[in-house]
């Protein structure tokens, strides 16, 4: 079937874990999609981070650049950007109160191509610790021509308490 979305890996978190990895990125697809819903954490006011994995291990080198518009329901928007970081930012100041969670879609490009950098786009909607509806529209680049085989999510501090994490390939 042309244009299919193919589930490759999924993880359901129902109690605290330090990180979640989705694996199975290879040369089968050029573009992968990650969907995360209802991500909740156990430590107040922490950011959601992610790294690419190589050989199943998260890469923590300073090769992560990002730029996004921070959309906010109760105040003015701002630009968020950084270069040469050790991870991408996928959520801002997540809280632990009822209803506070992060939800996002992320597209990943060229991940398994060792001749190209790995790019990603993101759209995030979350209820932060204020609580305020906050989101990100933007993207990032992993400035290394390595062979990426997955993605790893974690909190700045503390554990991921719950969430549905799914990795899909976009079938050509």
């Amino acid at each position: 079937m042309a244009g299919s979305l193919v589930l490759i890996d999924s993880e359901t978190v129902s109690s605290g874990v330090p990180s979640v990895s989705l694996t199975g990125v290879d040369s089968t697809y050029d573009v992968y999609m990650v969907i995360v819903s209802n991500l909740q954490c156990d430590t107040d006011v922490e950011d959601v981070k992610c790294r690419v994995t190589e050989g199943g291990t998260a890469n923590s080198t300073t090769n992560y650049d990002r730029a996004s518009k921070l959309l906010r329901a109760s105040t003015s928007f701002s630009d968020q950007y950084a270069a040469d970081e050790t991870s991408w930012d996928m959520g801002t100041n997540i809280g632990t109160a009822t209803g506070e969670s992060s939800n996002f879609v992320q597209y990943i490009f060229n991940a398994n191509n060792s001749s190209e950098y790995t790019f990603m786009t993101k759209e995030v909607a979350e209820l932060n610790s204020t609580p305020e509806l906050v989101g990100q529209q933007g993207g990032g680049v992993f400035t290394s021509t390595s062979t990426v085989d997955g993605i790893n999510f974690f909190m700045d501090s503390g554990n991921i308490d719950s969430g549905e994490f799914k990795l899909y390939g976009l079938k050509k």
């Binding site: 819903s37 518009k69 109760s74 209803g99 909607a125 509806l133 989101g135």
Partner: protein, 161 residues
Amino acid sequence: MSTNLQFIKSESADNVSSFTITDIFSDSYDVYQVYVTGNGSSSVSSLAAEFLDSGGSDIAQGNYDTAIRRLDPSSTFSSPNTESANSFEYVYPSSTDNDFASLITVYNPYETEYTFATIQSMSNQGSKAIAIAKSTTSATGMKFYANQNYTPIVVSVFGVK
């Protein structure tokens, strides 16, 4: 190999001031993609939507928050936001008789969690937006409002398995 983007329903209408599509959210999926196309007819500014329970009632009356980045090809971008509203904007055809298209990704509508949405849309202006329905009531449908009439509106819903 079967696809994990699974078609649920597509419906359309013409010359209606609002449009309701039911039985699209269930416990079968956590995340949905709702594709909306059409024309908002004359004198339209923003077009709004809301989530409905199985009885057809709005699940979050007065409890929708939104944050929108409007991308205007002929002017400086704007960033409207609202809290405690009765609906959320999903596209912004800012003047008369503009066609539009919108992709609304909906998270957790059927679960006993708040319902979130990320939105990408285009008319004579584009927008990137987020919305939340601060309600833990299960949503099973959506209602789309026009300032005047939709001529037409087409809504297609997919579950992301």
